[in-house]
């Protein structure tokens, strides 16, 4: 009996161990959106890298600012040179943790989550809490989030002449299709 119990514990532990590890998405989507009277401004990147720790619920995101593409070349130029100063601050980072994380969240249908962590944009770091979703969609682990940021909070100076034309807040959309990694 004891032996059986021991084997059972051993098997359970090894299953647990095989489920350990991380999830990664190397081509995660991030966009910035702002509505202006002249036309909408949308910058999109499909090159963000994100890692989700399956044990702790910690999530890390990194994006290279120069990978954001805009409809107009001029917008891209302004974004990188005037606003984000991409040569000086090439990456944006987020390191956070899913609130009330349990491993079941990684195998369950899409559900709402909240993530709190440090967002570093333009060399300025701030703690933010953002809403999102996490769960299985078409057999794959998918994470999404939509939240607003105020450029001024991150020391991004928008000249007065265009300040009124760009919305006070930028809407950020994130979507990542995760794959298991480092089992």
């Amino acid at each position: 009996m004891l032996k059986k119990l021991f084997i059972l514990i051993f098997i359970t532990a090894s299953i647990g161990a095989s489920g350990q590890g991380k999830f990664i998405a190397k081509n995660a989507y991030i966009s910035f959106y702002s509505s202006t009277p002249l036309e909408d401004i949308l910058g999109e990147s499909n090159e963000a890298v994100t890692i989700l720790n399956a044990e702790t619920g910690e999530i890390g995101f990194q994006a290279l600012m120069t990978t954001f593409h805009f409809k107009r070349a001029l917008m891209e130029e302004h974004f990188n040179e005037n606003y984000m100063e991409s040569a000086k601050y090439p990456k944006a980072r987020f390191n956070g943790k899913i609130e009330g994380f349990t491993k079941d969240m990684l195998n369950a249908p899409i559900a709402n989550i909240k993530v709190t962590g440090l967002l570093n944009v333009h060399g300025v770091e701030k703690t933010i809490t953002v809403p999102g979703t996490l769960g299985i969609e078409n057999g794959k682990l998918v994470g999404t989030s939509k939240f607003e940021v105020t450029p001024e909070d991150y020391g991004i100076v928008i000249p007065a002449i265009v300040r009124d034309k760009i919305g006070k807040q930028m809407e950020v959309t994130v979507k990542a299709n995760y794959l298991p990694f480092g089992q």
Partner: protein, 142 residues
Amino acid sequence: MKIKYAIILGLLAILIGAGIGLKMFFKPHADINKLKTEFKVDASGLIGEFEQDENTATFKYSEKVLEISGKLVVKNKLSNGTDLLILEDEMQGISCQLDSSWSAANQETIEALETGSSITVKGICKGYLMEIKVSPAVVISK
């Protein structure tokens, strides 16, 4: 008479100014095919440079036009339709997102690419995030 000329001159200046402004506003994205290659590199050598000193390599290559030769290890399509080619190493190699208009016109070339073979891509180096990001890119030889 002088006033008339001044008005015409003023209007002309406004028109030229507006023209330049509009041209700048509608300036198209650079065509990767027509950009001059700044560095011709070997994939593993480029990875080595980034692994050794990311800051120096980023400063040297970021936003530059590179021709990179290496082994194709992954050929994939992202959910938005973008063709993705990865050189040398699936996790920590060189990730090239192909230019959408080039891709659309060259689907046959992309389909003919075989993983394991050596190819050369031309694209803009964006920097390093676990892997080297190159976009937009085009395949120039296989």
